[in-house]
Symmetry: C2
Subunit: 185 residues, 2 copies
DNA sequence: TATTGTTATACTCTATAACTATA
DNA sequence: TATAGTTATAGAGTATAACAATA
């Protein structure tokens, strides 16, 4: 668990009744992300891998720098992810004749096949996730979420990740001594 | 970025057009989680802290074990989170006279105040997140997500966290030697 | 001097195992 | 022997700094 916050007092606020829309989006969203990651694992890929391949297929020849900026992945992490995709032969790093510092990234034929497999996985995932809804309702859901995403300034097709999630409460004092492995008494 | 997967070929599948409902839920959900965490940080709390206080207020006197099971938090992590809330005086660990191994957890008065502050933060968060929707639309969204959450077997009020997210592709070989800090050539 | 790709390092969160006290 | 709480430790993901090659 991570969240779990609904209306406190008897007052009536947005998150009344069971759970509010905001909490439900986060809850179902985390569930959806986990389920999708699990399906992707069957292909030997992680969500970041899939996002990179997809972005790359839409912007062939892009540099690592530009790709990282586009997807919000730090350079140091991107190197590792690209190495993994490179090792699998799903993408190619070609030299840039105009700037010997940079690479030009391309999806290989094998990478294209992976991309298609990812698409099939994504479709199966969506069907499973929205099993409780009719086609019309699923479209309504997508429309509402789409409008929120737009108004909130989210980049279409780019998952924001979970950068600023934990912490918020740095351990203060020296955590008073407490007998190891036992209740203090 | 993490995901980013839409329909691949020209075929028509669930995630056609812009993005599918499944991707949008994950995208907006991660955004909502980040925004909420940011607001909570102003109170010196993290999402897990808030979830613990809330769960505790609904089950006074519960043991750490039971709380961890309820929220899906591992015992080793729960100890740290409870220590932090304890240090802030938001909860109390009382001895259980019937079983000297366990504690009985209670929210303090100060913790109750925090809980109310968390409620206010949650309401403001929801209003901001759903600014693009009318009240009716927000209710529709909550209803649709609620039905998905129910059908998917999610526990009401419990955020599933992000346990099985990364990996799926363990580094294979010894990562061929490459000149340090420079392109290989 | 600035930039690209890379490595090193620290911090957090997740997960497992081991340990103490108690049952 | 089993269980509750605790600690230690390893593994990922995030983030920053530093580095070599090139601009």
């Amino acid at each position: 668990m991570i969240f779990g916050v609904k209306s406190s007092g008897p007052s009536a606020g947005p998150p009344r009744g069971g759970s509010g829309a905001a909490f439900l989006v986060a809850q179902v969203g985390a569930h959806a992300a986990s389920m999708f990651a699990e399906r992707l694992a069957a292909l030997g890929l992680s969500p970041p891998h899939a996002g990179i391949l997809r972005a790359l297929s839409g912007a062939p020849g892009i540099s690592q720098r530009a790709l990282g900026t586009m997807l919000g992945i730090l350079p140091s992490r991107l190197v590792i992810l690209l190495d993994e995709l490179d090792e699998r032969g799903l993408l190619e790093r070609r030299d840039d004749p105009d700037d010997r510092r940079t690479y030009r990234l391309f999806v290989t034929d094998k990478g294209q096949e992976s991309l298609e497999a990812i698409g099939r996985v994504a479709r199966a995932h969506q069907v499973a996730l929205c099993a409780a809804l009719s086609d019309d309702e699923r479209r309504t859901l997508a429309d509402l979420l789409s409008r929120i995403a737009d108004e909130q300034g989210l980049t279409p097709g780019v998952h924001p990740g979970f950068r600023k999630m934990g912490s918020a409460a740095p351990r203060t004092g020296p955590k008073g001594p407490r007998p190891r492995g036992a209740p203090r008494r």
